[in-house]
Symmetry: C2
Subunit: 346 residues, 2 copies
């Protein structure tokens, strides 16, 4: 089947997706019958390019890698300053990939983009945690009403399968509890503190130097990033109605080298654990550092990796571990969602 895709936001995730579509386009056609064109790209910083017949992705990637604006896609032709809402309305994409940056307080402007696309009868895939954490049930309801699909694989653990795993691999199981390491930056810091005997401040500085942590690291080290993800898991997988403001996360800023070393002596390891559990009608979710015994599959997850343990009635405990960030890994999350939409439509 043929698809026209519109990209709202073209940072790391969008460029990862474009690279994958460029290198794998032919294979995706051959192996899955998935034939996609990108008809519109709009980004607040990088500008806008549209082409109803499909953009030349190689040309787009070249412009981006040279730091040029997407307005230069058609030299000589003056490009309009495009509002994403207008691009969504005007382009004839079947699928909108909403890949802008997360605002976990308001979920905007991403939520408005997603609503606009669903209202227009377009499928939506997103890696944006804001709309998924704040408005999942409302958006899902709108998608259902409009008979289109809304998919969010990239919001948790990048392309490491979480929602597709739940939908297909765990089908029929009741998930009782989900527990995991959902923030790679804090896991990197804790790993460095233990294995290289670093102070918290030094490990954080290293994470910032390597680009794992922002200049203001609060979202990571304060547990807010993991919180957004555990809210999404609570609502999507456990069917809850949890809001980020319901949970007060505890981050890793209070963890000292001495605590890490003492835990090690006792055969334990500190991890920033995001956890959510259904008990009858009630969901209990939280984010806090925990001292795990080394026998816990989550204790062995080192560096910037992510992992989740699902506890289920039929299968018992199953743990999946993989990348939680990265251009290709997150681009692949979007690809997985595109292919899932395709499978469901066949």
């Amino acid at each position: 089947m043929k698809y026209k895709i519109g990209l709202i936001g073209c940072g790391t995730v969008g460029q990862g997706l474009l690279e994958i579509l460029e290198t794998k386009g032919e294979a995706l056609k051959k192996d899955f019958g998935f034939d996609a064109k990108v008809v519109a790209i709009t980004d607040k910083i990088k500008g806008t390019a549209t082409a109803p017949g499909g953009l030349d992705i190689k040309k787009v990637l070249a412009l981006l890698s040279q730091g040029k604006s997407l307005a230069d896609y058609r030299p000589g032709k003056k490009a309009a300053e495009a509002d994403p809402l207008d691009v969504i309305a005007a382009c004839d994409a079947d699928i909108i990939a909403e890949l802008t940056y997360t605002n976990i307080q308001t979920g905007e402007p991403a939520t408005s983009y997603i609503k606009k696309a669903l209202q227009a009868g377009k499928h939506v895939v997103t890696s944006n945690k804001g709309p998924a954490a704040l408005h999942y049930h409302e958006l899902k309801e709108l998608a259902k009403k409009k008979k289109v699909q809304l998919r969010i694989e990239g919001t948790v653990m990048s392309g490491t399968p979480v929602f597709t795993l739940f939908e297909s691999g765990f089908a029929g199981n009741e998930v009782k509890e989900i527990k995991g390491i959902l923030n790679g930056t804090t896991n990197f810091i804790l790993t460095k503190m233990e294995l290289e005997n670093m102070d918290y401040a030094d490990a954080l500085a290293l994470a910032q130097k390597l680009g794992y942590a922002e200049a203001d690291p609060t979202a990571d080290v304060g547990g807010f990033d993991a919180l957004a993800k555990v809210v999404i898991l609570s609502n999507v997988i456990l069917g809850g109605d949890v809001k980020p403001s319901d949970i007060k996360p505890i981050g890793i800023t209070g963890i000292t080298k001495q605590m890490v070393m003492e835990a090690k002596q006792e055969g334990f390891r500190y991890k920033l654990i995001a956890q959510t559990k259904r008990d009858g009608g009630k969901i209990t979710a939280g984010v806090a550092p925990q001292k795990l015994p080394l026998s816990d599959p989550l204790a062995g997850v080192m560096g910037a990796q992510n992992a989740l343990t699902f506890d289920m009635d039929l299968l018992g405990k199953v743990t999946i571990q993989g990348p939680g960030a990265g251009k290709l890994a997150t681009g692949d999350a979007i690809l997985q969602d595109l292919l899932a939409i395709h499978r469901n439509l066949r």
Copy 2:
């Protein structure tokens, strides 16, 4: 949609499936629109019961738990000694669940049962490693010709998702290498040798006492069980054409307590690793004990658990860890395949 299921073989896996269908039947109808009846069960030891309108599963489970024959399902009525081939031909099942014991030398009689079912236009799900390791491509071709589905989730890691994970979660990725712990018995033995300082012979005796290992433990400790599974992964996921006889497995019988302890001193851990890799057109597969660094996600897999690491071009390494055996976990593998057939037919 409504389905009629026929069970060939009713040991641990079959009974696990029946228990799941009994307890989850209503939920499966409500959540997935999957409405299944069991119209035939035949087992070499436990006899045969058929009912075109659907068997009373509660009654079947009661007979089995009392050690009675399925022939007693209709008291007074003399039951025929049923040949599974005749049951497959005579019952009007849409899906045959082939759940007999594995013969890894010949794949029989399971392969004949599967062929008969596919020829008759019935979908097939199986947990039997014989047909999957020896005749996968031939059977898949036959299924394609007959426009029915053949699914094998239960052949590797019981219900821990492997093939559904590959199909949906890893779609679009090229899998370069698969490496894992696929035999719970040997992993249990190695765990006991390290953590409880047991000799190989004592750990094996304990595994036998607990029902993890057979009286003749060769299939497990000689690596033959893991070998069958790595052949299946090579052929199904890497698209190879490997035969069990192509590989000479090395088991754990040569691993001594001293070796385990020396590895521990050096920060390593022995695991029986099944591994398969595609290099251009060539597949290299093997089973052998390896000394893994403790940082390897597979090193942390303890006891009777199984785990697999997939190395892929887009996602990098993703590891899934979960049960590799058990009544409900393997019954759930069959349920996953039934639901996948249902999803694909919708």
